[in-house]
């Protein structure tokens, strides 16, 4: 019997090229998401609200109408942590807090019960020197505001070490300590990427990389993953050197090793996901390209969903298509088709 506690959403991020090139507007993107079978939509104010950072009553009312027309609910609103507002000056913590409040109030105005917050550790601790995002102290101040308005703060995690990483646990503790259900982690599936996606191969090939080398590299990554052993570059480096990789090819491999090569064992990542599943508040089903069965071709979706279900996740899983960014320099990417196939595939995993 199908698992009943997971519902599906689409992040309108997935339709960014349709929007940028004026094929679909905000309403059209909602129609696309509804047409994919999703029950929820994730809204990006910075992307698709023309009057942003303001939201008029008219826009808010229209959004209520659009949800009714298309039979979908706004389930998540996107926050960005723009602290480096000026060339030589950044927002203070107080100003950063105010900006967080702005996003929470925007979500509230639209009737969207969740803000996906871009927090300091979303790509790992001290990911890039000099950048300081919305951190623990600010989140501690935002939590009562969110609670007061009934808006949940979802902290997205798309680090290589996932929701189980020690530096993420303080947020769960904060939620538990304050006994507030308005804060939680939100894993992004990119954590579970075990190989270079074909979307990356399309991208790098269009920039001059050698396809056959990247495909060889990818096949070795896949082999390691399905053999449940860590992939080490040294195991293939001699063979790749023989194939005379050019600079772009090397760059592609280097990037993939940076993203994937430093993950903890996948057994740990899946165990963490399962152990924390019941406490997660939102899930981003990231994908770049789909294989012939419509499974994202660099992530083990069956195992991810098994962990979510066994761990008792209750909430939305949102398609977040990012293959557009990887593949659109090589031509038009049919975001609508990708999302449709992705939604149907995920539904088959319940």
């Amino acid at each position: 019997m199908a698992y009943k506690d997971i519902k599906f959403a689409v992040s309108l991020y997935s339709y960014q090229d349709n929007y940028y090139f004026k094929r679909l507007d905000f309403e059209g993107a909602i129609a696309a998401a509804a047409g994919s079978g999703a029950e929820g939509i994730e809204v990006l104010g910075d992307t698709m609200i023309p009057e942003w950072p303001y939201i008029s009553d008219e826009f808010a009312d229209r959004f209520v109408g659009l949800q009714y027309r298309y039979g979908v609910k706004g389930v998540c609103f996107e926050h960005w942590s723009d602290r480096a507002m000026w060339k030589n000056k950044q927002l203070t913590d107080d100003e950063m807090f105010e900006r967080g409040v702005m996003y929470i109030k925007a979500a509230k105005k639209l009737g969207i019960p969740m803000v996906k917050l871009l927090h300091e550790e979303h790509i790992g601790p001290k990911a890039i020197a000099g950048y300081k995002l919305t951190d623990y102290g600010i989140i501690e101040r935002l939590l009562p505001v969110a609670a007061d308005l009934g808006v949940t703060l979802a902290l997205e995690v798309h680090t290589h070490d996932g929701v189980g990483a020690d530096y993420q646990q303080k947020y769960i503790e904060l939620a538990e300590r304050t006994n507030l259900p308005f804060l939680g982690l939100a894993p992004d599936f990119s954590t579970f990427s075990y190989c270079m996606s074909t979307a990356d191969i399309v991208d790098y090939t269009s920039r001059g990389a050698q396809k056959e080398i990247l495909e060889f590299f990818r096949s070795k990554q896949r082999g390691a993953y399905f053999a449940n052993v860590p992939f080490v570059y040294e195991a293939v480096s001699a063979e790749i050197e023989k194939m005379r990789p050019n600079d772009v090819t090397k760059q592609a491999i280097q990037f993939s090793m940076h993203m994937i090569g430093r993950k903890p064992p996948f057994d740990k990542l899946f165990k963490d996901l399962k152990d924390l599943a019941s406490k997660l508040v939102y899930v981003h089903a990231k994908f770049y390209d789909l294989d012939e069965n419509d499974c994202p071709d660099d992530m083990d979706y069956p195992r991810i969903f098994k962990a979510l279900k066994e761990g008792g996740y209750k909430g939305y899983v949102a398609s977040e298509f990012e293959g557009n960014r990887r593949m659109n320099m090589a031509g038009w990417v049919d975001e609508i088709e990708y999302v449709r196939r992705h939604q149907a595939y995920m539904r088959s995993l319940l």
Binding site: K22, R23, L24, A31, G35, Y68, R69, G71, I336, E337
Partner: protein, 131 residues
């Protein structure tokens, strides 16, 4: 004129009301170098995936107004509703449940009448993704 451009990718999608799909729409542009009254549209014929669409199932939407397609073919249709040059005329096909999301093959035959030469016929055929 403009034959290969009259069928556009703009807002190509299912049409919804009360959470249900009641049809789908495509935006088309005119096959002439000026706008024309809708009464000068001689024919809009659509074929979707090889199946001709019943004219009785077509609604035209333009400049905030809607007209059943068959109305504009009548001899008493007003002459002051224009299809402006370069602007989208939305053709809505009524169909309970809409069209399956994804790629479909669409063929449009557009005939517009002017008073000093034979009717202009443009044919455009392409695969479109319906959202």
């Amino acid at each position: 004129m403009y034959d290969s451009h009259i069928l556009t990718e703009h807002d190509c999608r299912n049409m919804w009301e009360h959470g249900k799909k009641y049809g789908y729409g495509v935006d088309i542009t005119i096959n002439y170098y000026r706008g024309l009254p809708l009464s000068c549209v001689e024919e809009i014929a659509l074929e979707v995936d090889g199946e001709p669409i019943d004219p009785a199932d077509m609604i035209l939407r333009i400049s905030g107004k809607e007209f059943p397609y068959t109305d504009i073919l009548q001899d008493d249709f007003p002459t002051d509703f224009y299809w402006p040059f370069g602007e989208y005329l939305r053709v809505i096909v009524l169909k309970d449940g809409g069209i399956p999301q994804g790629r479909h093959h669409v063929k449009l035959t557009l005939k517009t009448r002017r008073s000093y030469t034979p009717t202009m016929v443009a044919v455009c055929e392409k695969d479109l993704t319906f959202a």
